[in-house]
């Protein structure tokens, strides 16, 4: 492993441990998606395509991916305030290594989230028989694209506003995405005008694509394209606007 890769891995590990030891982050990133999965799979509170456990798993996975938005936006905002980003940027890790380490941590935590949700899904009736390698690859592609979108917008929000404002906005947006953005609940449960718009926004595109993958087994390429476009747009905006100090 090169010295640069070793440093990025050290940062990835440090940030991953910090997330997994933080109670609030665990609630947001693990517990809430698990609760959502169990409730959706075992009750008929919300109409879902059959099999329910499969559709619920798709929504819960999308919710887990989107939780990186709120988690990273808040973490980045407070790290800016306390000068953590600037301090680490002056070490041999450098600004790029720091960002790479953060992204690595998000993906590592996503791995923990996915494994946890798959385990819980098995317990509530999901059966993975017949899942193909292409479907697994498609799922990974959608989740990585979703992570790219949500981390880019997390950096945009956390890298430009005061931490108190970020705290409020990031939590509010997460609730809106879950309840009315097509993330957890199918778009056809939303009012038609809202559903039409939400299909082209990151939460709706990701949620619907993962539900389709889990229930029908098809990769929604249009949704993947929508996510890729938002990832590029968010990345460019974040690059232009991000401030290292508060």
């Amino acid at each position: 492993m090169s010295a640069t890769a070793r440093r990025v891995w050290a940062q990835t590990r440090f940030e991953t441990v910090a997330v997994l030891r933080n109670g609030e982050q665990l609630v947001l990133m693990i517990l809430l998606p698990v609760i959502a999965l169990v409730v959706l799979a075992t009750t008929d509170l919300v109409p879902l395509p059959e099999p329910r456990a499969d559709a619920a798993l798709g929504g819960a996975l999308a919710m887990a991916v989107a939780s990186s938005f709120t988690s990273q936006a808040i973490a980045v905002a407070f790290d800016r305030r306390w000068g953590v980003l600037r301090m680490l940027a002056t070490t041999p890790l450098g600004p790029r290594g720091l960002l790479a380490g953060k992204l690595g941590a998000v993906l590592l935590v996503l791995g923990v989230q996915v494994l946890t949700l798959l385990g819980v899904a098995l317990a509530v009736g999901w059966r993975p028989g017949g899942v193909t390698a292409a479907q697994v690859g498609g799922g990974l592609l959608l989740m990585v694209l979703g992570t790219g979108v949500f981390v880019a917008f997390a950096l945009l929000l956390g890298g430009t506003l005061r931490p108190e404002a970020v705290l409020a906005i990031a939590n509010l947006l997460f609730v809106l995405m879950v309840v009315g953005g097509g993330l957890l609940l199918p778009l056809d449960t939303l009012p038609a005008p809202l559903a039409a718009v939400a299909a082209y926004l990151p939460p709706g595109a990701l949620g619907e694509a993962l539900r389709t993958l889990c229930t029908v087994g098809q990769v929604d390429l249009l949704a993947a394209g929508v996510l890729a476009a938002w990832a590029v747009a968010g990345g460019l905006l974040a690059t232009r606007s991000f401030r290292w100090d508060a």
């Binding site: 010295a3 440093r7 050290a10 940062q11 440090f14 441990v17 910090a18 030891r21 933080n22 407070f78 790290d79 306390w82 000068g83 953590v84 600037r86 301090m87 680490l88 940027a89 002056t90 070490t91 041999p92 890790l93 450098g94 290292w244 100090d245």
Partner: protein, 356 residues
């Protein structure tokens, strides 16, 4: 107490992970290229540095030089431009003009920035510590980012942090966080370290521990540039002091040079004015033309015209002259100016409210 600092540090000239780049053939003498480390270059060279925020010149043509192996203190009132200057040197801010060379490398070149991250330690004014992890985890993480870090345990012990090593940073006191930030700045064993107000908010015991550590660093050959408000810190630690005000250097030199020479201070008695006492004193001392008077803060100072030291014989002369001039109630004392005297004389006594 373990010897945390290697004695051989002063001999190091190359500490980067990259091989030294080739210097182009035909390069002009004295030219600076990334990776080339002229051993005769100063630790820090700042020339005509400019930085503007909005319509305000925070740094206005500032120039300074810090030698290798020395501790250079940058003194200045609030809003003088100290932190902005240091942050330009650290690579955290992009100057609007001027030139910064750090360890012989042009700070503006991207290749230099990458190299300097290996060789320069930085302690930010705000500390820069993540709050959730434990103190020892933060320090060990920062150590892991360096190629040849020092040991964390002895450093924590040296800074009196062993008992709180397993405490989360958010639960440390302000002084403990300050010391942990210092540890993070030096755990990579840098050739040059920037310390932005390293003892702000520390109690006297913690301050002495930090000063001891800074002295050890300097004795091991590390170049140090620190900003401070504390005159005692600059007097006790610094080889050279740079006084900054309104974005530029107003004086620089060794603490002794800045302090000036011993003089006689006359406290003006009630009912008299400083100007009248000074005039009377000058007449009474007419036989001693080497002695001159000046007004300072309502007192009268008597100094040697050529900048020489005054002694107790001169004190007796001044006391006698005051008696002859009819100012028997005046108090006289032989005084050696402090750095604070010099600082106030250079930067004025009015309160500053702006911040840079």
């Amino acid at each position: 107490m373990p010897n945390w600092f290697p004695a051989s540090k002063a001999n190091l000239t190359w500490r980067g992970s990259l091989p030294p780049p080739r210097v182009p053939s035909g390069a002009p003498a004295g030219a600076v290229y990334p990776g080339r480390v002229p051993t005769d270059s100063p630790a820090l060279l700042v020339a005509d540095l400019r930085k503007r925020y909005g319509d305000r010149d925070v740094v206005a043509g500032l120039s300074l030089r810090a030698e290798r192996g020395e501790l250079t203190a940058v003194l200045g009132p609030n809003g003088a431009g100290k932190t902005t200057t240091i942050e330009c040197c650290e690579g955290l801010r992009r100057p609007d003009g001027g030139r910064v060379e750090v360890l012989g490398l042009d700070r503006a070149l991207p290749e230099s920035a990458a190299e300097l991250r290996h060789r320069v330690g930085v302690m930010l004014q705000e500390g820069g510590l993540p709050l959730s992890p434990r103190a020892v985890d933060v320090l060990e993480h920062v150590a892991r980012l360096h190629d040849r870090p020092g040991a964390s345990g002895p450093l924590l012990e040296r800074l009196g942090l062993t008992t709180v090593a397993r405490t989360r940073v958010r639960h440390l006191s302000g002084g403990q966080r300050q010391r942990l930030a210092l540890a993070c700045a030096i755990v990579g064993e840098p050739e040059l370290v920037f310390l932005d107000e390293p003892t702000a908010g520390l109690d006297p015991q913690a301050r002495l521990a930090v000063w001891d550590l800074i002295r050890s660093l300097r004795e091991a050959g590390t170049s140090i540039v620190l900003t401070t408000h504390l005159m005692t810190e600059a007097e006790d630690l610094a080889d050279r002091v740079v006084v900054v005000d309104r974005g530029s250097v107003v004086a620089s030199g060794t603490p002794d040079e800045l302090r000036g020479t011993p003089h006689v201070r006359v406290v003006v008695p009630p009912g008299a004015t400083d100007a009248a006492v000074a005039a009377d004193l000058l007449s009474a001392l007419a036989a001693h033309p080497r002695l001159v008077t000046a007004l300072e803060g309502g007192d009268v100072l008597v100094r040697d015209r050529d900048g020489g030291d005054l002694d107790t014989a001169d004190l007796a002369l001044v006391a006698s002259a005051l008696t002859r001039a009819g100012h028997r109630a005046a108090q006289v004392a032989l005084a050696r100016p402090t750095l604070e005297d010099a600082f106030l004389a250079l930067t004025g006594r009015e309160l500053r409210t702006e911040a840079a």
